[in-house]
Point group: C2
Chain length 113, copies 2
Amino acid sequence: MEKRRDIYQAIADPTRREIISLIARQSMNLNAIADNFDASRPAISQHIKVLTECGLVMIRQQGRERYCELKIDKLKEVTTWVEECRKYWNATIDSMENYLQELQSKNKKHGKR
Amino acid sequence: MEKRRDIYQAIADPTRREIISLIARQSMNLNAIADNFDASRPAISQHIKVLTECGLVMIRQQGRERYCELKIDKLKEVTTWVEECRKYWNATIDSMENYLQELQSKNKKHGKR
DNA sequence: TATATTTGTAAGCAAATACTTACACAATGG
DNA sequence: CCATTGTGTAAGTATTTGCTTACAAATATA
């Protein structure tokens, strides 16, 4: 569980998505979260670590408990990317025009390697 | 490169996100896509396979070329999930109320394992 | 103070991922 | 028909991932 730490990789795991859904409703401490899953407590702890490291979750220590708060705005990064794609997509006015562009590109060469 | 095939795992890889961005602008055949990356042609082919298998890309055969078309609506699944999370989040009226709910939950027990 | 609770983290491991090179094969074009 | 082009796929490999068990440490409580 090393290296890459971005939001996309964070939400790729179904367990982590469930954790996000859970703490979206209400901040919870680690054991309370782990109670909702079959995986061991350390496994959940590691998932929380991933979420924390990419800024999706913030820990608020309270005595010996650590409450996990979802930083919902971090998810905006994802929707922004999707909207960006959709914007480009819409720029190709309709599929017929799109088709014509392809015919044009067929006449171009691409040499690689 | 096996097993899990969902949209979240598909967009977790940065190269695949770039591919999606590319073909959002215009459908391209595989070699044209591969020209945009340092990775080998088979590597890109495998990425395309992942994208196809989760419904993000549709292949349109044209002679010996295979045009990759982005199925943009498939990305809606992601934004829907994010919006769902945000909805729950908004349900917790403000952070003070959220804080009080946590204090309550502290008094509940959870026993696991 | 002794004990229980809440959590982090290391070590070990099986599976998944992402690449590469090599080879196969169908469609095109001379 | 033969060489070229566009692409799929297998085999091999180094990393990354996700999980488990075991142990450490800090806070709370009887």
